[in-house]
Symmetry: D2
Subunit: 302 residues, 4 copies
Amino acid sequence: MVVFKPRGLVPPVFTPLNDDLTVNYAAITPYAEYLAVNGIKAVLVGGTTGEHMSLSVSERKKVIEEWVKVGSKNGLHIMAQVGGAPMADVLELAKFCASSKVDSLLTLPELYFKPKSVTELVNYVELVAKAAPNLPVLYYHIPSMTKVEINMPAFVAEASDRIPNFMGIKFTSNDLSEGAQVLRTLKNGQEMFLGADTLLAPAALLGIKSSIGTSFNLFPKLAQSILDAITKDDVDKANKLQERLSLAIEAHLPEGDWLPIMKAGMEITTGLNMGPPALPQRPISSEAKKRIISRLKASGIA
Amino acid sequence: MVVFKPRGLVPPVFTPLNDDLTVNYAAITPYAEYLAVNGIKAVLVGGTTGEHMSLSVSERKKVIEEWVKVGSKNGLHIMAQVGGAPMADVLELAKFCASSKVDSLLTLPELYFKPKSVTELVNYVELVAKAAPNLPVLYYHIPSMTKVEINMPAFVAEASDRIPNFMGIKFTSNDLSEGAQVLRTLKNGQEMFLGADTLLAPAALLGIKSSIGTSFNLFPKLAQSILDAITKDDVDKANKLQERLSLAIEAHLPEGDWLPIMKAGMEITTGLNMGPPALPQRPISSEAKKRIISRLKASGIA
Amino acid sequence: MVVFKPRGLVPPVFTPLNDDLTVNYAAITPYAEYLAVNGIKAVLVGGTTGEHMSLSVSERKKVIEEWVKVGSKNGLHIMAQVGGAPMADVLELAKFCASSKVDSLLTLPELYFKPKSVTELVNYVELVAKAAPNLPVLYYHIPSMTKVEINMPAFVAEASDRIPNFMGIKFTSNDLSEGAQVLRTLKNGQEMFLGADTLLAPAALLGIKSSIGTSFNLFPKLAQSILDAITKDDVDKANKLQERLSLAIEAHLPEGDWLPIMKAGMEITTGLNMGPPALPQRPISSEAKKRIISRLKASGIA
Amino acid sequence: MVVFKPRGLVPPVFTPLNDDLTVNYAAITPYAEYLAVNGIKAVLVGGTTGEHMSLSVSERKKVIEEWVKVGSKNGLHIMAQVGGAPMADVLELAKFCASSKVDSLLTLPELYFKPKSVTELVNYVELVAKAAPNLPVLYYHIPSMTKVEINMPAFVAEASDRIPNFMGIKFTSNDLSEGAQVLRTLKNGQEMFLGADTLLAPAALLGIKSSIGTSFNLFPKLAQSILDAITKDDVDKANKLQERLSLAIEAHLPEGDWLPIMKAGMEITTGLNMGPPALPQRPISSEAKKRIISRLKASGIA
């Protein structure tokens, strides 16, 4: 039986690039150490933050391998996202992960021949899950990017019935009402990871205590302190800490798309240089970085 | 200077109808007494729950007048929703309210020649606000019905600058991240009312402690107890009570559209018969009512 | 049995306003004479061009009455659009038309409690049709404004089965593939009016030879000449004339929303002053008018 | 200077599969011969019909190579669609085509990090065009699949300014009004291919005489006869032939998604077996095939 253990805060890791847009594999070791030192126990490789939907299959495999290697040294669970490519490649990646030391899989839905019903989406995830039957498989719900807008409680119910190694979802949506319904639908051992960094505290109140969020790369301790405040029943503190994290994120938002601003913000906040985004995304300007720094200072964060 | 006082839970009242679809004015008095006895201090007349976007101007005026009359006897603040009709009628209703004992106004956006920018929406609300310059005016954001999808923090900022009697918004959306941004944008004395009954607890954690929600008609004390638990820093209790309210609402959802199921639910839960919906909406079947009752019982609510 | 006769080009008439935004009833007579002189046999009163979804019921009735009066003197069939208001008002307007000399009805769908299925939309149109059982009733499909996106071939099939006086639709969409399917679904005596002035020629080739289009107010003879070219099998001429009409329309488009630019264009092209739009719409600037004139001249139209 | 010659009807070719879902390369030769015999002078390899957004890069290359080989024997221009995969793969495919005997390129937009403005889309197409600077490059507009909804006339204007080898678009939309605007925006030597088989005749009337449509695989001569009727100014014949083609297509539509029904229809109509769809799409049932045959017979087509 497949068991899936990670709980709590899981950063989706950036893929560090060199200035010539090749992958900067050497940067992964210090990055992993930084995360481990800051209390992180599991990472997602190849999500939206990792830009694997811009990379070739061979690059994706090498990045995953590198994380498996440095992850084992740092006690990190490695969840790999295999979707965001033609089905043939998604299945190849799933098989690759199944035969490597990857700990769990996450998959986007089909991006072109999009599923139009719960059953069509379960069909897709089932194909991926059968290609890696020994691994826990989770579904990556992010309708803002995929435009696949399927009812998640209904999907989770049918996927749980049909797919033995289906272990949960990453729920990247601000709709905590639907999120709470998903939580009530999950079976024992399955997990839901919120993907909405500005809603950590209110989600935790509803019992959603696991999250995959880009900002955990930048502010791992602040994010953890929000969950801790909820555990300690300190509503006011949870609210204040959440506001601090939200303002930190909002300091970046006016300057561009999510990944380029967060990749810039990672260097601003941690000093770890992640390099430019992979094509077709583009880096933000140095003026934009300065404006982010000003806003962070104005909010008392930087 | 216009002052706006209501805070906390505000039920949007149903418009009771007779079986021949005429308004059942006589039912308003006992309804208002029931709400007052249950701790309610303010009501919204003419919202989605009140179906005023289905009624004629003369019916709307009579319903508002009746609520003003029984409201004063029961200590109820009367907020009247004047939108959802041709602009000529919206302005006439706003003027009518300004010269009656209505306490505050709420307005939907234009439903046909929809605003496409923040400024166009502020223009509209400004026209309504100028027709009732002595009253606090709030904007009714409910994009699921209106398909007017304007950024609310930006709207609130511009409306606050341009409209002296602009006092806040009813935010009918499950996106608490945007809601928290609105809250940070509001000025002193303005208020934001959440319109998302399944998110009372998480919203309260974020400081959003006022709400306008249909279910407060059915479960006023349960809803209040959720806010109380947050005030007392009892996260677990807030979560459990919220789940109870959410399950009560979810017991109705499979049976049809929001207003018909809630009008049926009102009789099921309180015994107060609100009659059928106004055309073009239709009542749910007696079988549907039975299924709602079964689900409420299964969840330990009825 | 209800019979519906109009075919060909039907202008949706503007509602002339005075500068104080009251209706300029006196302008209707010369307007109707201008249309009749230019070969027009039927008009639509109260459509998007007529802005009746901004007016009160009493104004709408007076405008309809005036058109009935001057229409009878000018041999004009009067089709009145009764939708775009609360259901109570829509039904009152339908009854009013049924007892006046209006020749046919058109109705928008419900704008707030929007139909979500073919059957719900047929239910709505049936209510309107039963309020005017002696009149031909047509449905006004304009999803760009209403956001009611129901499959029209399926709607027409069910409406024809259930509503004895259902006589067709105004199809305001650029999707001629769906339009051709509607045409194949219509029964004998029913008619489809295209609402896409830049597609008169290609639609006519597909057999869609009736249209309701704002630009027929400005360019009635040019529009008719397009249909005539198709009748004469002169493809090249039809294309050239259509391009002329399309360029005339495109000369207006950059300057604002449809009604304000067309109301301005009416005066530019015909000298008939329609006044400003009704609230909440606003007139375009005099600079915008000059740019329209320049573009019309550049295209050899003005 | 890059020159792009194909005009008229261009079938987007199916990718024949074996029952085990491997590519059936052997089926390409007789398929190409069938097309050539039926008057086809150019084909699109790797479009939606070709399902290359489901295949791996190596499969795509082999399929393209095979078409280049058999194409040269049959006088076929080979246009290859390289989009629908991670950017790294798209660029690799573009370079592969540039160094092989492919005649022209078509590219989808980015499917995940979707462009949100005209300039972002031009940036993407420019990257692809620079990877194959010796080849004509066209953009594949198909918003129903990609959800990339950018104004095409504005895109064509900017792309033509910035990209020397930008030679046109495949416009897969039923909006012939926007299509006619694109046509007016194109420069000498560029071409627009309609992707709307049910609108061949009305588009041709507007001067849009090139098309890429799945149904040209099934009915190449019928499709050509529609264009011929327009050339001969025979409006009535063009309409009748278009209706025949449209009814043939509509006979398939109720049975599933576009590619599975068309792949089934190809065998029904031509006897050429294209095999099942690539994953994640699934074949239609044999009952569905029988219903298609019945409808084709009822319309007098099969």
